[in-house]
Amino acid sequence: MLTTLLLNVAFASTDLVEDIRNRDPQLAHEVATWEPIRTRAGFPRFINSPGDETDIADVAVLLAQRLTDESEPNQIRYAAAMWLAESADNSALISTAFSTETSPEIRVVMTDVFKEAPSQVAIDGLLTAMADPDPRVRTAAARIVGYRPEAELTSPTINQLSDPNPAVRAFASRALGWRGNTVAFSNITTLLNDIDPDVRLQAIIALDRLDSSAAMVLPEIELLCDDADPRVQRAAMGLRTR
């Protein structure tokens, strides 16, 4: 793991960038001038790709340089982070850059790489993201944890159930349900009384996944059949009447 990490960190080094510029000036020029499109949702995204898949590693180095270059506009750095985060091959590189990245929006995008990353890189990266001062990054971590199987993430995710931010609590519930962490059943049950309807909804769904027989007889579920939020009401009634 350490070797991979060092290799990836080295990816972005000036020497490597210079080496590519000398070896393949056309590719270096192309990537340096890539401009993102705006997706329909409005965020910037590079849709470019090198014609030759063997150039992918070089492109990653060149884009990593753009990502960490503070003189680049944030939309370029955002698009670079997104491009890099789409491949687990870049996970160690992103882990390293994560700690120095100043923009929370870009740290959110970076967190996506841990969805498919090698186990230890994902654990380390997600634990860092879970402790991030920005709730959007903690939300991203809670969301991605749901796609990961590692036992080391269970306890930190349970802790996220009491995060002050409701989106974090909701995604942590979802993650524990997806992961089948039955140990979290009672912790999640407390969220059935959460002030935020999204949290209550995700708690119902998670409990249903973890143990529907136990969940359907909870008195809180009966009360939620009259919840003010129609989605919560529907989920509770669906569970009760199954």
Binding site: I37, T39, A140, W178
Partner: protein
């Protein structure tokens, strides 16, 4: 609705009459004075192209949007007055405004019986007023109504389709070629370099219309407040005499819900005994934040005739209604349409039935695909499966119920289209398999209906659509007498949209709104 006009007959037969575009009106024959009365279109285009909207143009440039009337006074002096939405109604006589919000009464002293030509001008959609004509003995109240703004739906014949040209690597050239081959000069490419390579033509504007008698047509371009690269395109390419442009909302408060992929109209439907011959407007809106600008939604509500329906699209990253619903023509069915609705259960049924080893060339790339190499990789991803189960249970199933109850849909009207979604970075859901329902409907007059559908690429050989099980299923599910063209929209797909998002269609209006006064609100 006002059920009966107040007609005061003080003595004997009527002493004056009026010729209107829909026929004569007199005290003895007042039927046409009742709702909607004398009708017209709002005079808000710029017929003389002097840069000033005609309603605000003191130099009335001989425009064609003023309703002509002939009044036969029958030798008695008359008093005319206008009430109601008088800030949007004017009466002209001999090239002068004689009644408006400042002048509420007019004495006509001509007593020789000579016919008088009047003009009625409206300044807004669905302006309603009453023109009262009195000769001292008889008084006649005649309703005045301008056309509501009617948003086009997919059963109206298509006239032109616009798509932005995006050249270069990974561009949309192949898709444009199909449009051009099938539509000829009805397809209008838009220069990408002129409009900042803003692909999302559907999102920038919506076509609607207002209509008068004798085929008078005022197309309206509803210009979105999203104001990205395509912002100037409607003014540059669409606005002309008889085509008006209107903006509702505050661009400083724009959200994704203000884009017009999030604004559609259904075909004609009957709901609980109420018929909507122009369909119903629908858009994504839920809660306080996930909704279009209030000025826009209030405008649609005020038009009454397409009574709007709000749908929860908050679970989507982009949040647009066209990402998972569409109406398509079905000439062979009684209602004339099918409702397409994305369904993840059907999506999994399809991929569960496919060969797990099938290599998905188009999906395999990490950066320009989904990093998914085979069918089994897609179907065995437990995170994606849970995500789709949650979407189905919490959003798609309840939303389908909303559509059924608000559009009077029956089981045979609905096609559940296989779909799978993935989660986009802290944003929400987006199509994993290109969203089939996000398609363009080209039903040119006198030609077969043509649908331009995102190619799902659920196959190894990207050039061989005949080997695609998804395409085969769609061909089986969709009405047999329409033509399907599966186009390469991967550029759009990776940008979180599909064919419908990247195109816009002008359609021939349905004109006879005046036959449905009961759908125009209170008079």
């Amino acid at each position: 609705m006002r059920s009966l006009l107040l007609i005061l007959v003080l003595a004997g037969c009527g002493e004056f009459s009026l010729d209107t575009p829909l026929g004569p009106i007199s005290v003895d024959d007042p039927a046409l004075a009742d709702a909607p009365g004398i009708i017209g279109v709002p005079n808000i285009d710029d017929d003389d192209e002097n840069g000033v909207e005609d309603w605000d143009d003191a130099e009335d440039g001989g425009d064609n949007d003023i309703v002509g009337l002939t009044l036969y006074p029958h030798r008695k002096p008359l008093t005319l007055s206008v009430s109601g939405d008088d800030e949007f109604i004017r009466i002209w006589m001999d090239d002068d405004i004689v009644l408006d919000e400042d002048e509420d009464s007019l004495e006509l002293s001509k007593d020789d019986g000579e016919a008088i030509t009047l003009g009625i001008e409206f300044g807004d959609y669905l302006a309603k007023g009453i023109l009262t004509i009195s000769d001292g003995k008889n008084s006649l109240e005649i309703l005045l109504t301008s056309s509501p703004l009617i948003t086009n739906h997919h059963l109206q014949p298509a006239e032109y389709i616009w798509v932005l040209e995006y050249t270069g690597w990974g561009g949309n050239g192949a898709m444009l070629d199909v449009f051009e081959a099938q539509l000829g000069d009805r397809f209008i490419p838009v220069s990408g370099s002129d409009y900042g390579w803003d692909l999302w033509v559907e999102d920038e504007f919506e076509f609607a219309s207002a209509n008068g008698t004798d085929g008078h047509r005022l197309d309206t371009v509803i210009d979105s407040i999203r104001d990205r690269g395509l912002d100037d395109m409607p003014e540059d390419m669409l606005v002309e005499p008889d085509v008006a442009l209107r903006i509702w909302g505050n661009p400083n408060q724009v959200t994704t819900y203000d884009s017009f992929g999030n604004l559609e109209a259904s075909p004609p439907v009957t709901v609980d005994g109420v018929t909507y011959p122009f369909g119903r407007v629908y858009y994504g809106a839920v809660g306080d934040y996930h909704r279009p600008d209030e000025e826009l939604t209030e405008m649609f509500a005020s038009q009454h005739i397409q009574s709007p329906v709000e749908i929860d699209t908050s679970w989507l990253c982009v949040g647009h209604i066209d990402e998972f619903t569409s109406f398509i023509p079905d000439p062979s069915s009684e209602k004339g349409f099918k409702f397409l609705f994305a369904d993840t259960v059907a999506g999994y049924e399809l991929i569960d039935s496919m060969d797990g080893n099938l290599y998905l060339s188009q999906y395999a790339s990490q950066q320009n695909g989904h990093g998914i190499e085979t069918i089994s990789e897609m179907r065995d991803d437990q995170g994606i499966r849970y995500y789709n189960e949650d979407i189905q249970a919490n959003y798609l199933d309840p939303v389908l119920e909303v559509f059924i109850s608000n559009f009077g849909l029956e089981e045979e009207d609905i096609i559940l289209v296989p779909a799978l979604f993935e989660e986009v970075s802290n944003c929400g859901a987006a199509a994993l398999i290109p969203g089939t329902v996000n398609l363009a409907v080209a039903n040119m007059e006198g030609e077969p209906v043509k649908l331009f559908i995102p190619d799902p690429y659920l196959r190894e050989n990207t050039n061989d659509q005949s080997s695609d099980a998804f395409i085969a299923l769609i061909e089986e599910l969709f009405p047999s007498d329409i033509e399907l063209f599966f186009v390469d929209d991967w550029l759009y797909h990776m940008g979180l949209g599909e064919v419908h998002c990247g195109s816009n269609t002008q359609r021939t209006p349905i004109v006879n709104w005046w036959d449905y006064p009961e759908l125009l609100g209170d008079f």
